[in-house]
Symmetry: C2
Amino acid sequence: MMNTTYSSPIVTVDSVVFQLVQQKLAVLLIARTNQPFAGIHALPGGYVSAGETTLTAMTRIVAAKAGIELADCGVVEQLYTFDTVARDPRGHAVSVTYMALGRNIMPQLRSDTHYPQFFPIDALPEIAFDHAQIIQYAHERLKSKISYTNAIYALLPELFTLSQLQTAYEAVVSHPLDKRNFRKKILGLEIIHETDQTFRDGAHRPARLYRFNTQVVTNISSF
Amino acid sequence: MMNTTYSSPIVTVDSVVFQLVQQKLAVLLIARTNQPFAGIHALPGGYVSAGETTLTAMTRIVAAKAGIELADCGVVEQLYTFDTVARDPRGHAVSVTYMALGRNIMPQLRSDTHYPQFFPIDALPEIAFDHAQIIQYAHERLKSKISYTNAIYALLPELFTLSQLQTAYEAVVSHPLDKRNFRKKILGLEIIHETDQTFRDGAHRPARLYRFNTQVVTNISSF
């Protein structure tokens, strides 16, 4: 460590893990077992040690508190660093936050019982610290990100129908989209392509299955 | 502070201040006076104290080291938090970085002589720490940002010709743009409007002056 008497804020991490649950955007929360905010829901997070990166710390903490491998998420990116002085009543803690997008994520109950669980973002319980603000920031980032990248692929299975894709976009932007305009726009972006496979849902006509051109986040607007 | 023996990384800030200098994108650097990297150029940065936000610290440090008021920049936004363990030889320091976009910024030589100066990003001197990587990250963010927002307004005067605007875009994307396509695209975005004023440059025909619709960063792509 530095040879200094400087009093620095503590470095922490918090993670916003999103997935679709029953066609709704949902976020991973744990129930806190300790004070402050014991019994209240919060994002999985914790302290960073000198000598580990924030992503290493985040991966360690999400595995320990929710049994989830962050590396299994299709997109993991640093979000923003929240640093207001009063955000943690225990002292000034700067939180480097991450957003992860995944699918079929199954949180595991750990021995220290933090009850990890996905909640639809339109029906969140009471939230500890400034984590409601962090979730809102992540949601805005995600809305913005799907408007200029293909990042929504991380919320979808490898093969999907145009209806499924529209449902995913609608879940993120929180309002219905016109089917005809949506299909015209999405096909015009040239980020997905038709496969020769179809999907039959009950009595409906079989629907064509599509696939993203790439499973790497790619900018789709340009100058 | 927290009642803990936890060893946390130190929190620092570094700032990437961009402006156009002679039609080129340029970044503010200071010459370091202390070890490590004494005499080598670096971004203006320093330590964050417990009890101040990173933006407060950044504003204090940029004023102290370069005589620049960050608040005078048209855009100031948090960029990314750089956290690799070996980035500072003195110990693990997590740097919350900011990008600022301005114009007519005049660095002041301070009494502790850090020689603040703008360098074109295509002709940078040797750079200390991981600051070359931070500058590159900021440049990529800026390229991306001008493709989906109106943020380039912060690099331009309030009134500008379409040629000046094209020059600004070209300075950021680092390659020439086709004049006809550029004008069609920029007018189609509906982020600027014509004024009734013109500008005469020497023997050329007077050129129409334009103005941004808003001096607030606004998303221009949408779903």
